[in-house]
Symmetry: C2
Subunit: 198 residues, 2 copies
């Protein structure tokens, strides 16, 4: 599959990687075009040549990140639908949130209010959900074909899992209920066991 | 149960109701202390006497709203745990999002980035989740006692349901995937049927 990142120019790819480094090193609150330019070791004008604003760049960065996530998942997905499904869930909801993942998820939370009333942000959030659902759905479908999973509705299961993952992702970053993430993951795996496993 | 709203002074209660009207009539983007003062038919200083800033007021408003939601649920909850659970879910995830609910949910989405790094917002988001989980958990527990539900773990079930509700609430407001809300609700009711019903 050709992901969107493949069609990025060399400079844009560099900008994306520099944004990632700036985000991990300095955090979202500190993130600025200047900081990204420093990581890039180029002038700010290089970035403004490609992106109108920080928000514009971050939207593109979200897409770049989902592309990379998709590529990683597609590489690591094998012929074991059950393990593959666990892998997808654990990648999106790791037990320990590394600083890198915390910053990436923070971008989602930070940009979500913009998606309330700006179509360009809504489209990006829509695209992310469509692609995450597709990855989960494909894995469930493979499991059904391989007779590892029961003959469930793959779309329903995918939406069920994605809703739980997204709810937990937001709660994890915006509340002090540390134990809840573990509880939801246990509940999610137990749902998969009882609902999908023959 | 004494909810927090009971201890609000008369003026504060009026400010909360005025905020609600301003939010529904004008939407979050337009919301300002001036607009709330207009709804209240009092000077802005009356509001600033009680709340330092718009964010401070909105945090209090979130709490007021959860209090009211809790009171409504507690009034309408009867001796039918299964119907009560459906009622809670439908109240949080109505089929048609009225303009009133859209504005209330938008406040949650809009304030969530503040909860990333400000403890006062995190506490409020934590409190909301604790109270919503408690309502769901209590209903599940009643269902188990009444032999309507199987002997499941009420905490796990409550966290499972809340994660799905929150994920869907965020997705509904920030994406264009209208059909997904219906699919998740169907999946959620089917989970309750297969996991909880004896």
């Amino acid at each position: 599959m050709t992901t969107d990142s493949d069609v990025l120019g060399a400079t844009e790819k560099e900008i994306m990687h520099a944004t990632h480094r700036a985000l991990v090193n300095s955090g979202y609150a500190e993130l600025s075009i200047s900081l990204i330019a420093d990581e890039l070791d180029k002038a700010r004008s290089t970035i403004y040549h490609h992106y109108e604003s920080k928000d514009d760049l971050l939207i593109r960065f979200l897409r770049f990140t989902v592309d990379r996530f998709e590529a990683t998942i597609n590489t690591s997905i094998g012929d074991h639908p059950r393990e593959d499904l666990n892998h997808i869930i654990t990648t999106l909801l790791p037990c320990q949130l590394t600083e890198e993942k915390r910053q990436l998820h923070s971008v989602l939370v930070t940009l979500s209010p913009q998606a309330l009333d700006q179509e360009v942000f809504r489209e990006q959030f829509t695209e992310i959900d469509i692609r995450l659902t597709a990855i989960i759905e494909k894995t469930v479908r493979r499991g059904i074909e391989a007779d590892v999973f029961r003959d469930v509705d793959p779309t329903h299961v995918a939406e069920h899992i994605l809703a739980m993952i997204k709810g937990t992702m937001y709660s994890r970053l915006t509340t002090n209920r540390e134990a809840a993430t573990g509880t939801v993951k246990t509940a999610l795996f137990s749902y998969i066991d009882s609902h999908l496993i023959s």
